[in-house]
């Protein structure tokens, strides 16, 4: 008997996600040591992340948009990979990018807690983390999956403590939906919101010249 298409798709997605993790795990990293942690979040986790992002509302319209988007996304077969790493440096490069003269000084510095990440972090640890995410994304691209790297969902999954012992996180979302869900997401912005934001961000767009009286 022929196998159902949806079954093929979900099985294919599972294999693809495994291959993405392999590519990310073996990706280039500074220092030669692999410390990046990778996990596939469940649909319930994604639901929770979506609700959390949506609840941020006015505090972060972008996160709220991604929250609304994720709620729709999980209705079709998709997967969310979370990448996390520690912030302290074990590389001993003493490069100065973190704002401290040496790695030892940065590691000794007072830790600053926040919803989105713990700082200060080693620049090269962050680079390693994002290279791993990029490797997963490029594998997804080659395998023909729809894919997007989300830092908003990364911050949310960090805030919700979806991974133990990490100080920063980023996520890669992949999908085998009917059409590419990740780009041209106009349906997640309302018309009023668009107009309001546009007028706020580009007030001079409709203005004649500086100092002119505005006609409503």
């Amino acid at each position: 008997m022929a196998t159902d298409m949806n079954e093929l798709l979900t099985n294919g997605l599972d294999r693809a996600v495994e291959l993405m993790v392999v590519a990310a795990h073996n990706s280039f990293r500074f220092g030669g040591r692999n410390t990046v942690k990778i996990a596939r979040l469940t649909t319930e986790d994604q639901q929770e992340i979506a609700e959390f992002c949506y609840s941020l509302g006015d505090m972060s319209p972008l996160a709220a948009r991604d929250g609304r988007f994720l709620m729709e996304l999980i209705k079709e077969p998709c997967a969310l990979l979370m990448f996390g790493d520690r912030r302290k440096s074990d590389l001993n490069f003493n490069c100065g990018a973190c704002g401290y003269k040496s790695c030892a000084e940065m590691n000794r510095a007072e830790e600053v807690e926040s919803l989105t990440a713990r700082g200060p972090s080693c620049q090269f640890k962050a680079i390693n983390l994002n290279i791993a995410a990029g490797a997963a994304a490029s594998t997804a691209w080659r395998l023909g999956l729809y894919c997007r790297v989300f830092s908003t969902l990364g911050f949310a999954s960090f805030a919700l403590n979806k991974m133990e012992d990490v100080d920063m996180a980023v996520t890669v979302s992949v999908s085998v939906a009917k059409n590419d869900p990740y780009f041209d997401r106009h349906q997640y912005w309302t018309d009023e919101h668009w107009k309001e934001t546009f007028n706020k961000e580009f007030p001079t767009f409709t203005r004649g010249f500086i100092g002119a009286i505005e006609q409503e």
Partner: protein
């Protein structure tokens, strides 16, 4: 040394292939993801032998500036064997934080990050942090794109931050560059970036040739002529 015409042709084509590959890798790095789609990275191609040598000398000079940078000499020697070097820069992380208050830098908000004093420029400092990590992270997508495309095209690559830091010192990158990495590429039978001896700065193809073959061969030739 005289070489057959066809071998000279091969050498020339190999160099050209490296130059073309460098440009294709630039294309891949340019179209890699950027947070918010904001222009953040530039890619500088150095494919002239003399320019690569200038860069390597700058890397070597930096080795003495910080006790942790002793490996810069080895990096420089490896990059001398590269056919082209791509310098990937991050031009917003120093002056223009992303305004998303992510706290990866440890300053809680971008407003505080802007006010935080930057490290003074001095020989032992490669990048004058604190940088906006969120902005600088874009560089990792560009580097990953170069690496993954190079793998697809079957080109040997090596990623080095030493050469990136040296390029900033040489001022051959945009003036607001806060963070910079370098990728060397090579089209040759043996990747110059793998299986490299620990003391490669002292024992390498050039010094071996110079101290053994080139020292003995002229005398051998005159004695047996």
């Amino acid at each position: 040394m005289s070489k057959e015409r066809s071998i000279k042709q091969y050498e020339e084509d190999r160099r050209q292939a490296a130059a073309i590959a460098a440009r294709l890798l630039l294309a891949s790095a340019t179209t890699s993801p950027r947070v918010g789609g904001v222009g953040e990275c530039t890619i500088q191609i150095i494919d002239d032998e003399c320019d690569i040598e200038d860069l390597c000398q700058a890397v070597e000079q930096m080795a003495a500036d910080n006790e942790k940078w002793a490996f810069f000499k080895r990096d420089a020697m490896m990059l001398r064997d590269a056919d082209a070097v791509l310098i990937i820069t991050s031009i917003r992380c120093l002056t223009d934080p992303a305004d998303i208050n992510c706290n990866m830098c440890g300053h809680l908000t971008c407003e505080y990050q802007r006010k935080a004093p930057k490290l003074e420029k001095e020989p032992g400092i490669a990048y004058t942090g604190p940088l906006c990590l969120f902005r600088a992270n874009n560089i990792s997508y560009a580097v990953e794109a170069i690496v993954s495309t190079a793998r697809t095209m079957g080109i040997d690559y090596g990623v080095y931050w030493s050469a990136g830091a040296a390029a900033m010192r040489m001022m051959i990158v945009p003036k607001n560059t806060g963070f910079c990495l370098a990728v060397g590429i090579s089209i040759s039978e043996k990747s110059p970036f793998r299986d490299v001896p620990k003391d490669y700065a002292d024992i390498n193809e050039t010094t071996m040739n110079d101290r053994i073959i080139k020292r003995l061969w002229p005398q051998f030739r005159s004695i047996y002529s």
